[in-house]
Structure formats: C-alpha cells, structure tokens
C-alpha cells in the first residue's frame, strides 16, 4: 500500500533524525504528510512512528484520564465488597474490581509507550492536574448501585470505548479490545443483578429503581459536553482517535437503554423520554450541564473523598514500594554481575 510505504518513510526519517541528522522544516512537513496519509488510510500509528506533538499530548491526556478512571472507579464499587449480600455476588464484585485494577495497568502501559511514566501520571492524578471520569464522584448508597453502575456506567463506557478499538493509535486500540471484552461481561452482570432485584421483594425492587433514578443522568453525562461545547472533539475525530461525536454516542446509548429498562421492569427518570418516529431515535430531556461542570470542577459529592483515599493509599504504601526497590537493588547488585552498572 502506498500509504504504508509513505508512513514507513516517515518512520525511517524519524529514526535518521534521532541519529543526529537535523530534521529541517521541510522534513517535518514531510512527516506530517506521511502521518496524515497513514491516518487517512486507517493505518495504526505505533510507538516508534513520528507523530505530531499535539497528537501525542492528546493521547497521553486521554489514555491517562482513562487509566485514572479505572483506578478511581474501583472505590465506589469496592465500597460494597464487604457488604455484598451473597457469596456469589461478592465473588463477582471482587473479580470486577480486580479487573478494573488490571485495566488501569494496561492503560498506564499504553500511555507509557508515548514517553511518559506511570509515576508521573499518578502524580498528576494526585495533584489534580489530570482528571478522571466525573461519574465516580457519585456515591454508592445501596447495593443496587453496584448493579446500576454495571448496567449504566459500564454500558456508557462500552458505548464510548468500542469505537476506540479502532482508534488510530495501536497500543491504545489493542488495550481497548481486551478491556471492552471484560467490560461487556461486567455490564451483563450488572444488568442481571438489577433484574434479580427488580423481580425480588418490593423493597428490593424499590432499591433498584432508586439506584437507576440516581445513576441515569450522571451516566448520560459520561459522554461529555454537547458537541458545540466539546473542546477536543474536532481534532480528535480528524486524527481518528475519536470516531463519533459525544452527542451521537449519547443518543446511541439512550436508544440501547430504553428497551433494556423495559425488560428490567424499571423506569428511566425522564418525563421527556419518548420515541421519535421521524428521527427513528428517542427524544430525551435536557441534561443539567451546571451539575456536570460543577462535578468536573471538583464540587461533586465525592471528589474530595475519592482523591483523598487514592492519595492516602499511595502515601501509606510508599514504604512498601521503597522496600521493594531497596530489596531489588541489593539482590540485583549481588547477582549476575549487574553491580557493575551501579559502579
């Protein structure tokens, strides 16, 4: 393929310049053209390929934020591990929280291929310089919230993330393939949890309805601001990091959820929600964007608590990480001649 060849040229040029050859303005323009052509041809950009600085920065921001969301997202669910009402549910929940830690690890690795490090990214999370999904700033108040998170929050995440499996950046796309498989499993489990509650005692049914009432709108906010207010959308779509607009994905999610809510025997808390024959889609009510921006700015119900717990785990674990490093240093120095490097 011509574009593959062009991209390969860019790759080679980039290596030459790393070897000390000065890359002039003309070369940069050539790399840029090759990069654009490769992206246009739906080729994957790989870690050693040349890429625009802004592309790299956008990906670092997005992948890091995604990784942080997995890590912070463990908290609202872990909140119920010790209270899960049956051993089967407890096992499912533990496995899910474990998967989230694993997803965080894949994603930090993907981000590291762009020249950053996990320590640096965690530091940015802990100091508020990088964000995580606003959804995790809502509290889990009942057991049914665990189901609502599975069904709605994971459902929204999957709607967002499935297109990322075709993202132009290879390591991110591959991480998403693995993550989406596990997420869709979690989502079905969440749905099944709610179904059991909905068909259970009147108290259980009420618990499920209350959870859906509280998680519905925050889940719709997970798709981000409306298209006309989304700062990064146009560029991300041009680079094929993003494949669909926020509003498109949000609409798709609503259309998926409505029949699912019906089969669950639960209602969605939106009086304006109805099928629009003309559009072939559901109309739905206005989102409270004031609340969205407020949570994003740090004023949601749990922002403070989530970041404090994360920082505390990190700080209180410092001596453990130091011990591991000290042990590794001692034992690599005494074995296999690696002490030479330290001399």
């Amino acid at each position: 393929m011509a574009t593959a060849a062009t991209h390969q040229t860019a790759r080679t040029l980039a290596h030459d310049s790393q070897d000390g050859t000065q890359a002039g303005v003309d070369d940069t323009a050539a790399y840029e053209r090759a990069f654009d052509a490769a992206v246009a041809a739906d080729e994957r950009v790989e870690p050693r390929d040349w890429m625009p600085d802004a592309y790299r920065a956008t990906l670092v921001r997005q992948i890091a934020q995604h990784a942080h969301s997995e890590i912070i997202g463990m908290q609202p669910e872990a909140n119920w591990i010790t209270r899960a009402p049956s051993l089967r549910r407890k096992a499912i929940l533990m496995a899910k929280v474990q998967d989230e830690a694993g997803h965080g690890l894949y994603l930090y690795s993907a981000a590291e291929t762009l020249g950053t490090g996990r320590e640096e990214l965690l530091d940015k999370l802990h100091t508020g310089r990088q964000k995580y999904s606003s959804i995790f700033n809502y509290p889990t108040l009942t057991w049914a919230d665990v189901g609502a998170i599975g069904w709605l929050v994971d459902g929204a995440a999957i709607t967002n993330q499935v297109p990322l499996c075709r993202c132009s950046y290879g390591p991110y796309a591959r991480a998403m393939v693995r993550i989406c498989k596990e997420e869709s499993f979690h989502q079905r489990q969440g749905y099944e949890l709610l179904l059991a509650l909905s068909r259970g005692t009147p108290e259980q049914h009420a618990m499920a309805q209350d959870a859906v009432d509280r998680w519905w709108w925050p889940s719709l906010m997970m798709f981000g601001p409306p298209d006309d207010e989304s700062a990064h959308s146009a560029q991300s779509m041009a680079w094929k990091i993003k494949r669909h607009s926020n509003d498109e994905l949000r609409q798709r999610f609503v259309d998926i959820c409505v029949p699912q809510a019906e089969s669950l025997g639960l209602t969605l808390p939106d009086p304006d929600l109805r099928w629009n024959e003309e559009r072939g889609q559901h109309d739905f009510g206005p989102i409270d964007w004031t609340e969205f921006w407020d949570v994003l700015k740090g004023n949601g119900p749990c922002n403070e608590q989530r970041i404090t717990q994360r920082r505390r785990a990190h700080d209180e674990g410092a001596w453990v990480r130091e011990a591991a490093s000290a042990y590794a240093a001692k034992h690599s120095a005494s074995g296999a001649g690696r002490g030479v490097e330290q001399a």
Partner: protein
C-alpha cells in the same frame, strides 16, 4: 461411618477460615500500596472465597452459613480474623496461613478422603498465595530499615495465633504434629532469609489455643461479621 457429621465440622472449619480471610483481603480493595497488589490481593481473596463456597456448600447452604450464623457459631482460626493492619501485618498473616494451608491441602489432596477433590484444586492456588507471601516477606524484611522493623513487629504480633492451626480438627485426617514441625521449619527459613528474627514467644496463649475452632473469637470479629451480614439480614428470605 461418620460420613455426615464429622466432615461437616471439618468443612465448616476450613470453609470459615477461607471465608473470613477472603473478607479481610477484600477490605484492601482500593487501598493497596501499588496497583499490582490490588490485583494480587483481590486474586487471593477470590481464590479463598471460591474455596469457602465449595466447603460451606458441603456443610449446608453457603449463604445461610455465611450470613445467618452468629459469631459464636463460626469456627475459623483467630489468625484469619485479625484486622489487616499495615501491609506487613497482612503479609505476615498470609505467610503464616498460606504455609499452613499449603501443607494441609497437600496432605488432603494425597489422601483419599472427602476433601481430596477440593484440596487437589486448591493446593495449586495456595502454592501461589504462599509464594506471594514469601516474596513479600523477603522484600519487606530485607528491604529498608523501616520495612524490616514493620515486618518484624507484624511477625511477633501474630505469632501467638499460630499454634491453633495445628489443633486437630475432627474429621480431618492429617499428621498434625508432623505438619506443625514442617511449618515451624518452613516459616523459620523464610524469616531468616528475610533477615528477620524468628519470634520466641509462645505460639498459643491461654485464649488463642484452639479458641477460634470452638467459636471463641477476638473482639474485632463481631464487628467484621456485622458489616458482612448486615444487608443480607435486613432482607430476610430475599434472594440476590
């Protein structure tokens, strides 16, 4: 001969150990010192929960047994109910317990008793738990001065709960004294390699000796059960 009642006592004892330790490890979720340990601790907790479910099901309904028994009816070792403390404390508890569990399950797997099928599967999981605990004991013991001190303190604190593990359990055909001396040797070896001093105190106090197996627990256990059972007990007869 005693096919119904005796294995029930044993199934409950082993099942309660796994259930309670799994619960304690579950408390770490979101609090571990490094992401890899979030994965590892949850993984061990899940293995133990899986064992607990099989064992409790041998004795009756797993959820009734887990959620509707009072503190005095639980027969787990006092060791496994000990609060997590710091990471060293959790690791010392894991080292003591997984070494014991590994030896016991290896014996049960080799014997032709009712627990052989479970033990054959579980012994593989427990070998991993034991390795994890040993690796961390080495890192913490032989890491920094601070980690050494914490690990030493944790080993000392939990030492008095270790004698109970080798009190014979009705229905479990094992060489308890042999297992105990193997355990002392194996744990001592790990501690020495970790530059730690093997604790010298008694391995059983007047209270700790065999107490958990008789339903006599330490104070934090009741609070742990209150949290674990609250939701289930709030909805009698509901299914989840």
């Amino acid at each position: 001969m005693t096919t119904t009642s005796v294995p029930t006592t044993a199934a409950l004892a082993l099942g309660d150990d796994a259930l309670v330790l799994s619960h304690r490890l579950g408390e770490w979720a979101g609090h571990a010192p490094v992401l890899e340990e979030e994965v590892a601790l949850a993984n061990i907790a899940l293995d133990l929960l899986g064992q607990a479910r099989v064992l409790l099901s041998l004795a009756g309904d797993e959820d009734e047994l887990a959620y509707l028994r009072e503190e005095r009816a639980f027969t787990n070792l006092q060791l496994v109910e000990q609060p997590n403390g710091d990471f060293a404390h959790t690791i010392a508890r894991q080292l003591y317990f997984s070494t014991y569990q590994h030896l016991l399950y290896a014996e049960l797997a080799a014997a032709d008793g009712p627990f052989a099928p479970l033990a054959a599967k579980a012994v593989k999981e427990v070998a991993y738990h034991r390795d994890h605990a040993e690796q961390w004991t080495l890192r913490l013991g032989d890491g920094t001065d601070a980690s050494h001190e914490r690990m030493q303190r944790a080993c000392e604190t939990l030492w008095r709960f270790t004698g109970e593990m080798f009190r014979p359990v009705a229905g479990l055909d094992a060489d308890w004294p042999g297992m105990e001396s193997t355990w002392v040797e194996a744990v001592g070896d790990v501690l020495r390699r970790a530059t730690l001093t093997v604790p010298e105190g008694p391995r059983s106090g007047a209270w700790a000796a065999g107490a958990g197996r008789q339903g006599l627990h330490t104070e934090s256990f009741g609070r742990m059960l209150a949290e674990m059972q609250h939701l289930h007990r709030s909805h009698p007869g509901a299914s989840w």
